[in-house]
């Protein structure tokens, strides 16, 4: 049934794929070019914004000196550990509250109340408790990422089609099978939305935490450069954050298309 593909479709596909791949990069490339041209022509003073080439050279210098890799890896470490802890707790709570009514009644409204506190407002408190060491930054990331994962896991599980669950039960699936064959896959798209959202929160939290109190990390690098009016490094740090954000989004997306392969098989999305 999928064999007879008309010639026009194949032709259009061949033609559209490179354009589809290229189009998203068009605007960034134009912006960087305009930026460089403005700097070269002296329209843009280097004290306002250094040229892309200057930023790039600064990046090379800091990479060779080992400063950038060191700070980058410590930031990545904080982000990953914080996300794993926060996401893990969020998933677990979402799972328990999604599956059990008692647990939901007991915990959900308290969690929702806690969620409404902007987690960045906890920075002073956390610094007072934990000082400025690693655990402070990691806890902040964990708290920030916990809620999006929690809410989406919870709603994902609660909104699984009850007809499918009834079918599973009447077809003698065990509790474990019911979860792994029906509930989890059905909730997965929503859980992944939560994780993607959490990735964004993860970086924002980390930037703020590292800017306010840290002696290493990309946020610290930016803050330190600011003290020395080192424009190139400040801009470099911003670019690094943008790239990190984009990479984590791409990772999340490829996870999605890998895990949700079945969603792309619909006849309508061909």
């Amino acid at each position: 049934m999928q064999k007879p593909v008309s010639i026009s479709t194949t032709r259009r596909k061949k033609f559209t794929i490179p354009v589809d791949k290229f189009l998203p990069f068009l605007i960034p490339i134009i912006v960087v070019l305009l930026w460089q041209v403005s700097s070269s022509l002296g329209w843009l003073s280097s004290s306002v914004l250094p040229s892309p080439i200057a930023v790039f050279q600064d990046g090379v210098k800091l990479t060779l000196s080992g400063e950038l890799p060191k700070n980058l890896s410590i930031s990545l470490y904080r982000a990953t550990v914080g996300l794993l802890i926060g996401g893990g707790i969020g998933f677990l709570l979402g799972f328990i509250n999604g599956m059990s009514n008692t647990s939901r009644l007991l915990f959900d409204s308290s969690i929702q109340m806690f969620r409404n506190i902007p987690h960045l407002a906890l920075i002073p408190l956390i610094i007072l408790w934990l000082g400025i060491n690693e655990s402070a930054k990691i806890s902040l990331v964990a708290i920030g990422t916990m809620f999006p994962v929690y809410i989406n896991t919870f709603h994902g599980i609660r909104s699984v089609d009850p007809d499918l669950i009834e079918m599973g039960k009447s077809y003698d699936l065990t509790k474990k099978q019911l979860f792994f064959k029906i509930i989890f896959p059905a909730a997965l798209p929503q859980i992944l939305v939560g994780i993607r959202y959490a990735l964004g929160v993860m970086w924002t939290t980390l930037i703020v935490a590292e800017t306010i109190s840290a002696s290493s990390g990309i946020g610290y690098m930016a803050n330190n450069a600011e003290d020395f009016v080192d424009m190139e490094t400040v801009v470099l740090c911003i670019v690094v954050y943008a790239v990190l954000g984009k990479i984590s989004d791409l990772i999340a997306k490829s996870f999605e298309s890998l895990l949700l392969e079945w969603q792309n098989t619909g006849r309508s999305n061909a």
Partner: protein, 240 residues
């Protein structure tokens, strides 16, 4: 050998203040094909769900003959209820790695003429194909009783006819005890050994269908059952 497979005794079912079923008594024999017909809201689905054990009666009992081991019962729902994240084959085997299970699933797919579709996802199938997969899934693990709640309701007339023949054929060959809920009296008259009319929350009327019936007989039975559902008594009765 008319041994009773399903015995329904004084079943009552109420939802809050609403009586869905009132004093239903019904015996269904082994190998019998029953059609439950009636107006919408007449309690057909409720009765089927009670038999399937998906709901509990407010009063009364459903007894399933368990003489040879556990009599397996399978429901085929009005919607296909296939799992969109599993291939067609996995929808039958629920992803079981067991070789025999997979082979059995493939066999059943051949039976419903979807042998080439094992690796497809449900979204890639037509409505009729999905219902055939659902039928094949219901036949996994060799059930003795098949409960069908308007499984063909969403299909076009031609596909519907083909599915009717397929279901009939399978039920006869595997000697299944079958209950088919339908609002289509024609379908009931074509397929069933016995038609039960659900009206006013109970089984108010039943009609045995002739064996090897022809189109004319089907029409007569369908007309009579329809008249019974709609309360249109024949003229002679009124003047009498």
């Amino acid at each position: 050998m008319n041994n009773t497979m399903i015995s329904i005794k004084n079943i009552n079912k109420t939802y809050n203040n609403l009586t869905a079923l009132h004093d239903v008594n019904l015996d269904i024999n082994q190998g019998e094909f029953i059609a439950l017909v009636g107006m919408s809201g007449g309690g057909k689905s409720t009765l089927l769900r009670l038999i399937a054990g998906l709901e509990q009666p407010t009063a009364g009992s459903v007894t399933i003959d368990q003489s040879d081991t556990k009599t397996l019962m399978r429901v085929m729902f009005q919607e296909d209820r296939l799992l969109p994240w599993m291939s067609v084959l996995d929808n039958l085997s629920f992803g079981s790695k067991d070789k025999n299970t997979k082979a059995h699933a493939q066999e059943l797919l051949e039976l419903v003429e979807l042998g080439d579709y094992a690796d497809h996802y449900p979204t890639q199938l037509s409505g009729g194909q999905k219902q055939r997969v659902a039928l094949a899934r219901a036949l996994m693990s060799h059930p003795k009783i098949l409960l069908l709640d308007e499984p063909l309701g969403a299909l076009d007339a031609l596909t519907r006819r083909k599915m009717q023949d397929l279901i009939l054929d399978i039920c006869q060959k595997q000697n299944l005890t079958t209950i088919l809920v339908t609002h289509d009296v024609e379908e009931a008259a074509r397929m069933a050994d016995r038609i039960i009319v659900m009206k006013d929350s109970t089984n108010s009327y039943e009609e045995d269908c002739p064996k090897n019936r022809n189109a004319g007989q089907i029409g007569i039975v369908a007309d009579r059952v329809l008249g019974e559902i709609l309360n249109e008594k024949p003229l002679e009765v009124k003047t009498a």
